[in-house]
Every structure is written in C-alpha cells, then in structure tokens.
C-alpha cells in the first residue's frame, strides 16, 4: 500500500496547513540550487517561470522549436474556476464535488479540493499576464457552462483558451530567460532520467539538430511532458506528443497509475482514409445546439437530409433524457460506439454519427448559429469541403486525454524522491474521467501554485546533499544506454516504417483497449503487442543519419508506446469493474450502463516496472472518502 502523504485536518484546511508547515529556503541559498523542468506546456512553463521568480536556477527543455508550441496551445473550450461571478450557487466545494463525481469517485479528495481552491488565483494570475478572456460589455469577465455541471464557471478566450493561457505562461517563461534565471533548451528531447542514490539528479537529452547526447545535473527534476493519448496514433493530440519522458522515468523506478483511463472525446472529425494522421477536435460547445443522431436502419445509404425524422435515432436524447446531447464525454462517446458497432454508423468508413444543426437553425436563425460557432463551421468546411449549415456534421469519438500518468503523492512527487510530475503527465486529479475545462486548470495550478511550494519543501531537506556533476558514473552509464539504444534503432534495416508500427498498435489498442474492453480482448491485445514488439525489433526501417532525423525520433517514441500499450492492457485487465472512461464489457447493466465496484476497486493502481520480459507489479493506493458519499453516477 503506498502513502500519498495527505496532510491532516479538515478537507478545506489541508492545503493551508500544508503551506503553513512547508519548509522554506533562504533566498541566498536558492541560487545555488538547480531545477530541471522538462516540457514547456502550461504546467512546465508556469512551473519553470515561477521557480525562477523565486530565485532558483531553472533549466527548461522542450522538443519543439519554441516553448510556445506545446500542445496546451490547442485546448479550445475554457478553464474552470469557482469564482461564482454568476451568483449561481458555485463554490469551491461544489466545484470539488462536480470534479469528484465527474471522475467517477476514483480521485483523491484532498487533491481535487486543492484544485478547486487554487482555481480562483489562477484566473487572477492569467488576467494580470494579459490573457484576453471574454468580457461582458460592462468590462467584467464572462462565463459559460460546460458538460456535466449546472453552474457557469468556465472562463474562455473565444475557442482558443489554451492558446491564450499558453502564451501567458510562455511570456512569463521568456521573461525569466531574459533575466538569466531560466536557461532554455529547445529542440532537446529527454531520453533518460538519471538517478543517484535513489534520487532524481538529472537527465540525458538528445539535441534534435546536431544529434548530440547531452547530460544535465540538478537538485530536482520536474516532468511536465503531457499525456500519452497519441499511443492510439489517431487522436486529437499533436504528432509529437509522446510518453517517452515519463516512460523512461517509469523504467527508472517511478510508478505509473490509472494507465488505462483514457478519455475519448465525443465530437471529433472521423477517420476517412488510411493515410490520415490526425482526428481534429470540434469543440464540445457544439453540443449545446447540435443534435446527435444516426439512422435507425442499419447500413442506410440514403443522403442524410433525405432520411425522415421518424427514421432517425437521437440515441443520447433517448437514453439520457435528463442531460441529452450534453451528457458527459465518456458516456456520449460510448453511446456513439455502441450505435456504430450496431451497424448504424455513417460516412465513407461507417464510423461516424451526425451532429445536426437544422433544428437550431430553424429555431434561432442561421445568423445566431454563425455568431456562436462560425469559426468551427469554417474549420469543418476547410477540412471536409462540406457546408455544415446545409447538411449534418459527421463526428466520431477520438482519443483525447489521459487521466492516467505517473503516480504522484500530495506534493506531486513520484515514487522517485526529487522527481516531480505535473499536468497531464501525472494521474492525480481527474479520477477515471475528466470534466471539460479542468485540464487547463490542473496544468496551470500544478505549475503556478503547487509545485513552487512542494519542490522547495523537498529541496530544504536536501540542501546539504553532495553536489553532483555530469561526470558522475550514473550519467556515463545512462548516456551509454541511450547511445546503445539509438545506435540499434539507426542501424535498423527492415522494411517497415515507425509509423506502420504506430498505426498498427493504435488500431489494436482502439479495438481491444479503447472505449470498451473485456478480459478476452485485453488478453488478446497483450499477445498481439508482444508479437508487434518483436516485429518492431526485426523489421523496422530507418534511413538518414544521427543529425536531424524525424524517423529516428518517431522510432524511439514508438518503442516506448509499445511497452506502455502493454501496461495499459494489464491495468485495464486488473480493474474488474466499469468506471468513468474504463468500460469493461463484463460489468454493465442489461441496458448498457457501467457497474462500478466500490468494495473491491476503490483504489488507484500504481505499477512498478520489473524488466523487459517481466509482468509489471501492481501496488495500490486506497482512496479514502471522508467528505463525499460514494454514489452511482447517473445522467438519466
């Protein structure tokens, strides 16, 4: 049983108690301490900037050509905060409860409460940085509503909230670079974690331009490297999103949690061909006015507009009358898959459902719909060449967000002392299903407000520890291992591309460890992944040299995805219940609803790596609910 080190006291006082008692470091000593932050998305940039403001020396790394490009930039909808500006009954407690319930009671009370509590300061911080959140005409901040809640607590900047928060954090980071407190390393990919005497003390990176391997030592290492949803190949993620940093830390001893909890976003553009690389997300806000349906008849080949009203199945309105088209993401995605599997899917690959605005246009007028969603309709037309004012959009669920990640305690520290994980890279706050507009929040809160308290608390106890430089044997050994692995990849001379393996793995996981899973499908997937790994080892083809080489980068990431994919299956296999995004076919009611099992599975999995050919070892963190009562999550 592992201990999350949750502070004592009432739920509402825990974070204050922690901060009151956390140890501090004298400003004169801070400049003697180096902290590595990997990743420059919202969590990484905000953490690096804030630590630098406090006086630490920060080394910041990203694989992109600029810190501003991390995939936080793509978040559309908004960021939640319990400001209660609408006077509609919102509060820190209510936001906490909505998040716990939305996560299907598989997250830690204390973490979630802290997330809601810190949401207030985040909005203040972002506004002060110049983030242009939407405003009412009187000049005050505007809010909107999002799936799974009954209050308006979402702050937004058109459909580009992630981009604007990202630019705010990026600028804060650039300010610290100009002040000399952050040393920035772009086009650097972390390829290993260096552990000395059980503590995280540095990283090995590859310079993606020159190909050189470089070593960096520090007093603590922060991984803010995002989620691993790209494991499915087709997803809403950026092409470069990967698991390599957290996976290599996992292989050095950091436990992984909730690995199979992956959110599929219900409103994405469907796959229409084998060469497709990306499933673009269409904002969830469309579901406020769009109605989702499929033809009642299997394999209906008629033009969609010709299908009469009584031959359409508005399956969300039918199954979940209370929430209808605004049912939570996991439920909406699964309902779409159920209809598609039943043979009622539409589109060239029969893998989509309709999102229909005809009723809304009739009722509100085209102008109103254009004002609300004009940019999304334009984007749809750009990608598909179809005018969605005239015919329904085709949408489909796509892999989107990983609730799982590195296990962290209340201080966001992994099982390796001195190694912290922030944002989507950790598992902490969303349980088995994330609510919309909570991911921007979590990454920012982790980086601006939590890690800057907990990292100094850790460092204060390690002030006297020996100064380690990159000459230490642990760095030499790690460098050699990385070099060996890269050389092996570079000398591959098979006939299949890294993308081929990635696509095969993605398809396999989507079918067997995706929106729904079963014991049989998961056991089968594990066997198939092992065979795929063997094929990868023998049949991979890479051309080019050690300098700029995107094929080499991809191959390294795919090799980690293959190992991660296997762990996802083990994780899904051991959890013999259905909760949130994890739907085990064996555990459902006769009408297809999830059956959670709180008696046996009210815990978070925490997996320990045991070696290449060994099964991973399961540890557990029991979830203790002191404040909320576990309840069945119903949206009917």
């Amino acid at each position: 049983m592992i201990d999350a080190k949750i502070p004592t006291g009432d739920l509402a006082d825990k974070w204050s108690n922690y901060k009151d008692n956390a140890k501090l470091i004298n400003p004169a000593n801070r400049k003697k301490l180096d902290i590595i932050v990997v990743g420059t998305g919202l969590a990484g940039s905000s953490c690096a900037a804030t630590l630098a403001e406090q006086g630490y020396n920060v080394l910041s790394f990203c694989f992109q050509d600029s810190a501003r490009r991390a995939h936080s930039v793509a978040a559309q909808g908004g960021v939640n905060a319990a400001k209660n500006y609408k006077n509609d009954g919102d509060s820190v407690y209510r936001m906490f409860y909505d998040t716990i319930k939305g996560g299907d009671f598989r997250s830690r009370e204390a973490n979630v409460y802290r997330l809601a509590e810190c949401s207030l300061a985040l909005i203040d911080q972002a506004v002060a940085q110049g983030v242009p959140f939407a405003r009412e005409y009187a000049g005050y901040l505007a809010n909107r509503s999002f799936g799974g809640v009954q209050v308006s607590r979402t702050f937004y900047a058109r459909g580009q909230t992630g981009q604007q928060l990202m630019i705010g954090a990026y600028q804060a980071l650039m300010r610290q670079v100009s002040l000399g407190k952050v040393k920035m390393y772009t086009r650097h990919e972390m390829l290993d974690l260096v552990v000395v005497e059980g503590k995280a003390r540095g990283i090995i990176t590859r310079n993606l331009e020159t190909g050189e391997l470089e070593s960096y030592a520090a007093n603590a290492v922060v991984l803010a490297t995002g989620g691993y949803g790209k494991v499915y190949y087709l997803s809403t993620l950026a092409m470069g999103c990967n698991t390599s940093a957290i996976w290599r830390a996992h292989k050095k001893g950091a436990f992984m949690s909730g690995v199979s909890w992956i959110q599929f976003h219900p409103t994405c553009l469907p796959q229409i061909g084998e060469t497709q690389s990306k499933l673009t997300l269409m904002s969830e806000s469309l579901r406020n006015d769009g109605r989702i349906w499929v033809p009642k008849k299997m394999g209906d080949e008629r033009v969609l507009n010709d299908i009469p009203e009584d031959e359409r199945d508005y399956y969300l309105e039918r199954r979940y009358p209370a929430f209808g088209n605004l049912s939570p993401r996991d439920i909406s995605s699964r309902a779409a898959k159920e209809r598609i599997d039943a043979g009622c899917g539409i589109g060239p690959m029969k893998n989509a459902v309709c999102l229909d605005f005809s009723k809304a246009i009739k009722e509100q007028g085209r102008d109103k719909i254009e004002e609300k969603y004009g940019n999304l309709f334009r984007m749809y037309e750009k990608i598909n060449g179809v005018d969605a004012y005239k015919e329904p959009m085709l949408i489909s669920p796509a892999a989107h967000f990983t609730m799982g990640g590195l296990w962290v305690d209340y201080e966001l520290m992994t099982t390796i002392p001195g190694l912290f994980a922030l944002g989507e890279a950790n598992f902490s706050d969303h349980g088995a299903n994330r609510l919309g507009a909570n991911s921007l929040l979590q990454s920012c809160v982790d980086g601006y407000f939590i890690a800057p308290y907990t990292i100094p608390n850790y460092l204060s106890e390690n002030l006297k520890s020996e100064k380690i430089t990159t000459d230490h044997p642990a760095f030499i050994e790690a460098t050699n291992n990385v070099k060996e692995k890269l050389n092996k990849l570079l000398s591959s001379s098979g006939h299949l591309s890294a993308d081929h393996f990635h696509k095969t793995l993605g398809k396999l996981l989507y079918d067997k460890c995706g929106l729904s899973r079963s014991k049989a499908s998961l056991e089968q997937a594990i066997l198939e992944i092992r065979a795929l790994k063997e094929s990868f080892d023998n049949e991979l083809n890479i051309t080019g040299d050690y300098q700029v080489n995107s094929e080499l980068e991809k191959a390294g990431r795919v090799s980690d995805f293959l190992e991660l994919g296997e762990l996802m299956c083990y994780d899904a296999l051991q959890r013999e219940e259905s909760c949130g995004a994890h739907f085990r076919e064996e555990y459902q009611t006769p009408d297809g609803e999830a059956i959670r099992n709180d008696d046996d599975f009210c815990y978070v999995s925490a997996w320990k790596w045991k070696g290449e050919s060994e099964q991973p070892e399961l540890h557990k963190e029991n979830l203790i609910f002191e404040t909320v009562k576990l309840a069945v999550r119903s949206y009917k």
Partner: protein, 253 residues
C-alpha cells in the same frame, strides 16, 4: 491524383541546398498537404532514402510549427490557412508544386524544410510580456476591460508565431509579428505601464536579429493564417516614436 513536386533539400545549416523533383501518385483529395508529404516520405523510406524533413506538430492550425512556401505562397494558396490545414482538393491532378522552407536571414535552415525561428523567441524575451510574477495578481474583476478592447487585444494575441509574415516579406521583416505582440499588451490596461520600454526593446531586438524593415507592401497580412492586421505595424511605429520622445525627455529631467 498525381503531383509533380519540386522540394528544397539541404543537408544542414552550413551547406547549400537545391530543388529535387519527385513524382507522387495515389494522392486522395481528402488528404492534408502534410499527409501527402507523409505519403512521399513513406515511399522514400522504402527506397532507402533519407526522408524530407519538415516541421509540424498539432496539425490543427494553432501551434504555429508548420509552414512552407508552396508555389511561392506562405502556407499555400488558401487565405487564413496554415500548411497543415491545407487539403489536396486545393490542387489539380498533374500540377507541379514547388515546396520551399520559409526563408529569411534570421531563419537559418536546419535541414530541408526545417528552419530555426528562435529569433522570434528573442524578440519576446526583449519585452513581450507583462512583468507580473506569480502571486502578485489582484482580483481579476478589479480591472474591468471594455469588451471591444479585449476583442481588439485578442485579435493581436491570436498570432501563432509561424513566420509566414517574414517569409513572404521582400525585406524579411518581422514587423507584423513584433507589432502584434506590442498591440496585444499595450491595448490592455495591465500592459500599458511598460509599453514605452517594451516597444523600444522589442523593435531594437528585431533589428539585431537581422530582420529587415517594413516598407508597407502588406503582403504579411494577406498571407497571415490568423489574418492579423497591418494596422498593428502602424501602431508600433507610432508608439516607437512616441516612446523615443518620452524616454528622451525623462532622461533629461
């Protein structure tokens, strides 16, 4: 459909590159432009050749990573569109397509179509921020900002930093990029206080990086995927001159 491609190939920063011809068939009109290049790369790989290196990441038009000159136009023939959002239905079967990197003295080529845009980061480092540290912020509604002011600031803040403005400019000027950031921050009450120092430092940095001056051809606005207005350049020039006078006067008094 089938295309005849002529693509810039270059080994690294220090050597010269040249255009190389490729024929690609089996292209579907539904493919994105980058997926068409993926297809070509998959074939090059099979033939044992080094793939064409190009930058790309989100493939949904917001990260600003991708960008190439396509038949002489930054991000290709469509307006308000990044390279990743361009689809093959914008091309004709049998067409010849020239693909080159975004060029500019301040944008060295790393390999093929990959370029180094860190000069943009340096311009932001010179003052493209509001100097507020975590913890200093006042209650967010204590600074009311008129709806239209926020919207105008947003229009400028929407820049994705792709570099199309530089690539299309005959002077390789970064005026649109720099002025968009200056406008974004100067329009907001939070950003006004530092605006004089900011504009001077950022403009000076832009010059130092080797970008040229603006001669008002307005090609940048035409090619900008976010359709950022050249009026920001006018505002930047006005603010720059105003700041020079103010700072000069402050120094004397």
């Amino acid at each position: 459909m089938k295309l005849y491609l002529k693509i810039w190939r270059q080994e690294h920063r220090k050597v010269k590159g040249n255009m190389v011809s490729y024929e690609v068939d089996g292209i579907s009109v539904h493919m994105s432009f980058l997926e068409m290049l993926d297809l070509l790369n998959e074939r090059l790989l099979r033939q044992g050749e080094r793939v064409i290196e190009f930058d790309h990441d989100c493939r949904e038009g917001i990260c600003g990573t991708c960008g190439m000159m396509i038949n002489g136009r930054a991000h290709g023939p469509l307006s308000g569109t990044t390279t990743c959002q361009l689809h093959m239905r914008s091309f004709k079967d049998g067409q010849t397509v020239y693909i080159e990197p975004f060029r500019g003295a301040a944008f060295p080529i790393l390999r093929d179509l990959k370029i180094d845009r860190s000069a943009f980061d340096h311009i932001i480092q010179a003052g493209g921020y509001i100097s507020v540290s975590t913890g200093q912020a006042p209650e967010s509604n204590s600074i009311p900002i008129a709806h239209e002011v926020t919207e105008a600031a947003f229009d400028a803040a929407a820049c994705i930093g792709c570099g199309a403005c530089v690539a299309v400019c005959k002077n390789s000027s970064a005026a649109l990029f720099t002025s968009a950031k200056i406008s974004h921050l100067a329009l907001l009450p939070q950003g006004k206080i530092e605006s004089a120092e900011r504009v001077i430092q950022m403009v000076n940095q832009m010059d130092k990086e080797g970008f040229g001056h603006c001669s008002n051809t307005e090609a940048c606005e035409v090619e900008c995927p976010q359709q950022i207005s050249v009026l920001h350049i006018a505002r930047m020039n006005y603010q720059y001159n105003k700041a020079l006078i103010l700072i000069d006067r402050n120094a004397k008094s």
